[in-house]
């Protein structure tokens, strides 16, 4: 359990760091979908390696916190909400028994469904929760942005068709316990320092 907790903080911190650096850069080019794809891949990979339900929601919480502490960059509330909701959506989809099927068709199909759905749900959540927390929510704004969300989600879905099978075929990287904790702690600390310092 200690190892899984460390991994949750480590991968959540890496995710948060990527959101604050690559994510902001991609957002400037209207390519936030690629950051979401990276995050979902990270969740899928860690679920395969650690096989611990709930871990990815924990990672999302860590990443959302880190994103919230970032003094630079785009909308902090929107991004934090989207990140956490993506983690919860991942847990819900991964609760389905699809992993009992080992075929490529199942993995590719679930790659499309999960990447498409997680991106869409995360985006919709920010469109609803952000105005509720900061201003006023209008249904017409959400319906107006839905085509754009679904259009971008297509990119996530197509990438997911390849990314999920890849996450479930990746080679495992093993590290001795003696090194695991110090290395994980250093990487985690570096991620937090970089983000809080606004690098």
């Amino acid at each position: 359990m200690k190892k899984i907790l460390m991994a949750t903080v480590l991968f959540g911190s890496i995710w948060g760091f990527l959101e604050c650096s690559v994510g902001d850069w991609l957002h400037g080019y209207d390519l936030s979908v690629l950051m979401a794809v990276m995050a979902i891949f990270l969740m899928a990979y860690t679920r395969r390696v650690y096989n611990q339900p709930g871990m990815q929601a924990g990672m999302a919480l860590v990443a959302a916190l880190l994103r919230h502490f970032n003094p630079m960059g785009a909308c902090l509330i929107c991004a934090s909400i989207a990140i956490f909701v993506e983690g919860v959506a991942f847990e819900i989809i991964w609760a389905l028994p699809w992993r009992n099927y080992k075929s490529y068709a199942m993995k590719a199909g679930m790659g499309i469904i999960s990447f498409y759905a997680i991106y869409t749900v995360g985006y919709i959540a920010t469109q609803i929760l952000t105005p509720l927390l900061t201003a006023k929510f209008y249904w017409s704004d959400l319906t107006g942005v839905m085509p754009k969300i679904l259009s971008h989600a297509t990119i996530a879905g197509v990438i997911g068709a390849f990314a999920l099978p890849a996450a479930y075929a990746s080679l495992d990287v093993s590290i001795k316990d003696r090194l695991y904790y110090p290395v994980a702690a250093v990487i985690t600390a570096l991620c937090w320092i970089a983000v809080i310092a606004g690098i």
Binding site: I77, G109, I113, Y116, A117, T134, P147, K148
Partner: protein, 140 residues
């Protein structure tokens, strides 16, 4: 292929189809708004406002945000160019060329600016409220 696999493949194809149809729809909206987007014109209610003329007429304002500093014309000045009465009694829906839209109050409009790149910046609101390539502002 087992039944569960068939269901997953069908759902995946359906989702992608919805996505492709949405992309087509967004593309059509962008085509419809192309004239306004290229002409540097913004439709506010029924009034066409030329952005170049607006920038010549009004003083440029600087706003500080978490994303950096931006300069532009106050959105309230843009609304003042129209014959809208009781401005604080209305909501203002800012619409981008791709159909993305966000509704804000008159108080928000007074704090926000429009940049020369036709982007709204609201320093007090999250980035989700910022709209780029504005083509019109609906008044309700």
């Amino acid at each position: 292929m087992e039944k569960a696999e068939k269901i997953v493949v069908v759902v995946a194809i359906l989702l992608l189809s919805v996505g492709v149809a949405s992309s087509y729809y967004v593309n059509q909206i962008e085509k419809e708004n192309k004239e306004l987007a290229e002409g540097n014109i913004i439709l506010v209610g029924d009034t066409e406002i030329n952005l170049d003329e607006l920038f010549e007429k009004y003083e440029v304002k600087n706003v500080e945000t978490t994303k950096g500093n931006f300069t532009g014309i106050s959105l309230s000045a843009l609304i003042n160019e129209t014959d809208i009465e009781e401005k604080d009694a209305h909501d203002y829906t800012v619409v981008g060329s791709d159909g993305y839209k966000q509704t804000v109050s008159w108080e928000d409009m007074k704090k926000g600016i429009i940049t020369e790149e036709k982007k709204t910046v609201f320093p007090h609101l999250p980035g989700k409220f910022w709209v780029k390539d504005i083509v019109k502002i609906e008044v309700s």
